[in-house]
Symmetry: C2
Subunit: 253 residues, 2 copies
């Protein structure tokens, strides 16, 4: 190969995009184009910083970003190597859902119920309470363009000193439902997604047949002392709830 590289793309120092980001794109595209194939060794960092006239730290930063994205892996003393496609690298973000719902149209949050319920065995276990202790039970229905899509139920610890309830009840937007759940007092949460068949009541509210498949998104939130504060779950109409993602090298991100 006496021919030079087809595109010895350089870094434009006058551009708005910082140098490290430009280099991320350059290398990503070279990988995406097949210039470097899975298993291939990337040029050593010393070569990269010479070729693109950047400092060691800048190259390191770029490589770290490529590692995070699952495109390459490194071994000390050996080099940087392109990774083969791996479905295990896939990450699904709830953020995308939120954006999808928030942007497309207005979502309305309807408060169906807010009452005090004695914790049954299951609730007590989830919230680390004794059975029989009063908790706050909330039911909400979220609709998009008059179509009910999300059914949310939640148990809150009842603590007169922590007036979480008022804040909770005033949530009227999907945005608030996702974020302000917390209303300041929380610092950690565990989430879980499952597939379930809709029960009678759920199906009725979501206006589909009982037994229809739906997503079940469970959440437990903890306060700063790591005590559970709320336990709840979203039931999501499957036809309005899809998680999508991409793996591998993208031309543009």
């Amino acid at each position: 190969m006496s021919a030079k590289r087809t595109k010895p793309r350089a870094i434009d120092r006058s551009a708005f995009e910082p140098a490290y980001m430009q280099l991320v794109h350059i290398l990503s595209e070279q990988i995406a184009s097949g210039l470097y194939r899975p298993g291939d060794k990337l040029p050593p960092e010393s070569e990269l910083r010479a070729q693109y006239s950047v400092s060691p730290m800048t190259v390191r930063r770029v490589i770290n970003i490529l590692i995070e994205r699952g495109l390459v892996s490194t071994t000390q003393g050996k080099g940087t190597f392109v990774k083969p496609l791996d479905m295990g690298e896939a990450v699904f973000r709830l953020q995308e859902l939120k954006e999808h719902w928030a942007h497309d149209e207005q979502a309305t949050v309807q408060l169906l119920e807010a009452s005090i319920r004695s914790a049954d065995e299951r609730v007590a276990r989830k919230l680390s309470l004794s059975p029989g202790v009063p908790t706050i039970f909330i039911r909400r229905l979220v609709s998009h363009q008059a179509v009910p899509t999300l059914y949310h139920r939640e148990y809150l610890i009842y603590d007169p000193r922590r007036p979480v309830v008022e804040a909770q009840l005033q949530i009227t937007s999907l945005e608030g439902l996702f974020q302000g759940q917390s209303s300041e007092g929380l610092r950690r949460g565990d989430l879980q997604i499952e597939a379930v068949n809709l029960m009678e009541e759920e199906a009725c509210l979501l206006q589909v047949q009982p037994g229809t498949a739906a997503f079940y998104l469970e959440h437990i939130f903890y306060d700063f002392k790591d005590r559970p504060v709320s336990w709840g779950w979203f039931i999501c109409r499957a036809d309005h709830f899809k998680l999508t993602t991409c793996i591998g090298a993208e031309a543009e991100r």
Copy 2:
């Protein structure tokens, strides 16, 4: 407050853990403990590097990691602020599933069918082919401890010059199913998760009642010229497929 900080934790330069990671943990724990609450401003970077005796670059790196983790956000000229809990920050990783399945017990991959099928209208559209063109159709069943949990179907473009087929047929491990899908020729994939009710055939193979809710994981892979190479989907028994994750500040990661 004349009292000094309760724990002016310092960085141990002799430790194996690099300084930036130690500082990530220190700040994470301070956030998790409630020392800094959502909305609060973190000390300016100049103060952090003075307090912990590290260079500007090291502090920047730490802050960037906290941003990635969704713990803080920054505004140029203003400062670094602790973010409130936000379910939208949640990311679900297929990796966890893979590990769960791979470690717990041995998975067996059974090849049910490998045949040539003319592309119907749907397959043709997904693979950017003309209807009627021959494709390779593969069906696999994955079992864990003799319990069938995953049913995989896939259409591959039939191209005598690209002997993807042989490699595909020799996949006998779950690991291989997730990774080697590609077998070198691929560089990009789109994934999607939905909740579905099982059809007769699917339910029979997975040994559950028809109509039972299940996860549907669809995948399309593209080659280096961005042409679709395979389209397929996993049907996963819901009782063996749960996506879990955490948000917020963890004591330890």
